[in-house]
């Protein structure tokens, strides 16, 4: 009887633990998945309004503007079809430059401006020349668009 009771305890505790852990993981996963959208999709209102997501493409040449405080920046991310204005306050990563590939994470603000909380530029092992990055981004965007349809 004692052994059976012990085994029951093990099983019950185990099941409770499994259920708790599964709930924890699924809940955490649910609320922390960020989808990726291209500028074309954002312009077509396919991106969510109140959720964090990732916007990726190329930094449009000539679009980078700095406000007087020197820290608030505005630039456009383009997929060579459409472009979205991005606003970001802070210091940009080293590899950020116009014409380069970039991914920004944030939310859509008023007037379709993307308020970025984080800007990621790729730190590649082998340095990627702009035209290669360009081609890659184009392919990626095409794929993303294809997937969205």
């Amino acid at each position: 009887m004692k052994a059976r009771y012990k085994r029951m305890m093990f099983i019950v505790l185990g099941l409770v633990a499994v259920a708790a852990i599964a709930a924890l993981i699924l809940n955490a996963l649910q609320s922390n998945i960020n989808h990726f959208f291209s500028p074309t999709e954002v312009v077509a209102h396919q991106a969510p309004q109140d959720r964090t997501f990732r916007l990726g493409g190329l930094v449009e040449v000539g679009s980078l503007e700095r406000e007087d405080d020197g820290l608030t920046l505005q630039f456009k991310i383009t997929d060579n079809a459409e472009a979205v204005t991005v606003k970001y306050t802070g210091i940009l990563p080293d590899l950020f430059s116009e014409g380069q590939g970039v991914v920004a994470q944030g939310k859509l603000g008023n007037g379709g401006v993307f308020m970025a909380e984080e800007v990621l530029a790729k730190h590649d092992e082998t340095y990627m020349p702009p035209e290669v990055a360009d081609a890659l981004e184009k392919a990626e965007d095409a794929a993303a668009q294809g997937a969205a349809k």
């Binding site: 012990k6 996963l29 998945i33 990726f36 999709e41 020197g70 802070g90 993303a144 997937a147």
Partner: protein
Amino acid sequence: MIPEIGQFALIIALCLAIVQGIFPILGAQLNIRPWMAMARPVAQGQFIFIAISFACLVYSFVTDDYSVLYTASHSNSLLPVQYKVAGVWGGHEGSLLLWAMMLGLWTFLVTLFSKNLPDEMVARVIGVLGLIAVGFLLFLLLTSNPFERLLPAAPDGRDLNPLLQDFGLIIHPPMLYMGYVGFSVAFAFAIAALIGGRLDAAWARWSRPWTIIAWSFLAGGIGLGSWWAYYELGWGGWWFWDPVENASLMPWLVGTALIHSLAVTEKRGAFKRWTVLLAIIAFSLSLLGTFLVRSGVITSVHAFATDPERGTFILGFLILVVVGSLLLYAWRAPKIGEGGKFELVSKETMLLVNNVILAVMSAAVLLGTIYPMIIEGLASVGLIDAVNKVSVGAPYFNAIFVPLLVPLVFLVGMGPLARWKKADMPDMVRQLRWAFIASAIFAVVMPFLMGGWSWMAALGMVLAAWIVTTAIYSLRARFKATNAELPWGHRLNAIPRSFYGMHLAHIGVAVCIVGATMVSNYMSDKDVRMDIGDTVTVGGYTFRFDGVIETKGPNYTANRGLIRVLQDGREVMTMEPEKRVYTVQTMPMTEAAIDTGIWRDLYVSLGEPVSGGAWSVRVYHKPFVSWLWTGVILMVLGGVVAMSDKRYRVMARKEKKAKAEAKIATPKLATEKA
């Protein structure tokens, strides 16, 4: 000429590895002694030839031989010589060669420190290591030949990525790979045990020191990587939940479970199947990490040049290893008996829960890391609707780690004091009540000392203090149990080193928790635009920007900012962050200026020039951040102290004696069972 020698040496190494993977294992099965005896010399030869090959690649880097494609892509004549050497593992092909050499080195060490193991065991372990080497050498030669020629030769190299031109590159990858590859030894021991059917306390005692040292290397490698990212990436983060970081964390978590599970197998003969399974999983996760990094399936700061062929090869190898070893496990594991019985409240149960938590942590990291691939995979076969690419954010990992860490750390305090088989809970509560009260007080007081209440900070403090106070209690109890008539030194010496090592590593965990908690809750930072003479105050320090001067390094030009730090109106130091531009790739690089202290780091990095001599500047005050890496160092030291425990040596000597006697009694003893 030299590169061809290198490639030829690699081919010879492959041939030797094939021999090493076949004959010793067959010899052990069929009891053919000469075949078993081949294991050591062949493995040593294999290592020597890989080392020759590696030396050839180093030579072509140091002598600027740009007729070698790999050298031309990862080096430059202006590169300082230490980075030329480290540049050897700065790209895919070379780092894979380093991987293979590390595997050879571990195998070589096994051949040296296995004199006391039964011959069948040694033959099987070295044989399994040989099979793994075959996989990696084939991978190198077929898909990633570092010696491929470039005709006509490039006039100069394309240079090493400036991010990699750092002390971190010299030590981080070799250390990390020692850890990664080190789990192959634990894996080989597990497979050898499954083949031979011998899985007992002695087996656990043999594989324990190997596992602990591999675990220590991996801990050190992960810690170094984190430290490197902290000072090199220029924005002071220390862990990013990047897929490649996760790839190294997963085998480490499972390795941590394995160390604890091996303790139960050694002391109580229990958890045998679980231990073997963990050894298999730890190594499989090492391989999975390699796959994630090499195949380019996942976007990461570590991404190497992508090549689908390489990804396919590694994936195939991974599947072969995982499926092969799991089939062997399914076939042989039922023959391994169960170990000693234990009560619900016992050291065994606590270690079991520890193992489950660590396994869950690892599984959760795995899920978060490959979730984007899973979604894409399911969408591509039509099981779910196609969706946009997804990524799993860092908050996911934090949300899982914190709640799991609480019970885990609670057990870190209880476990060492609990008895095997049956622990007395009321007695433990009585023993540890002061430790708990002290931790609680500490947790309430510390946040106020740090400048404000925070539940997370209090939680972190109670966990850290709990580990330290229970460790002190446990050491004191152990000391009291020694012979009181002996002098102090002798009494301290009577406590086994593995006991000290365990507590040292546990305290390392506590120190890490303090660092992580403090820096996450009390860090202050400011991004500011600074004209010459402007000041900004962060964390009680005032930073004054005194302009920028231009300087020149061996292969870069730089703007060096001069920032004077004042405390209570007195100038305490000058910090000189740089913004470099590396000339070959015209790549900008932020070199932060860091003042490291016990209680805080000051961290300053230059942003961009704004206008008229003004710059955007980022200033951080990071309390206790250095504790993170101090904690890792303590864990590594704990591992080293534990594996130097004399029982592994004494035990080894006894085994040797027993073996010698057995040989006299039955010259052809076969431990083969079933």
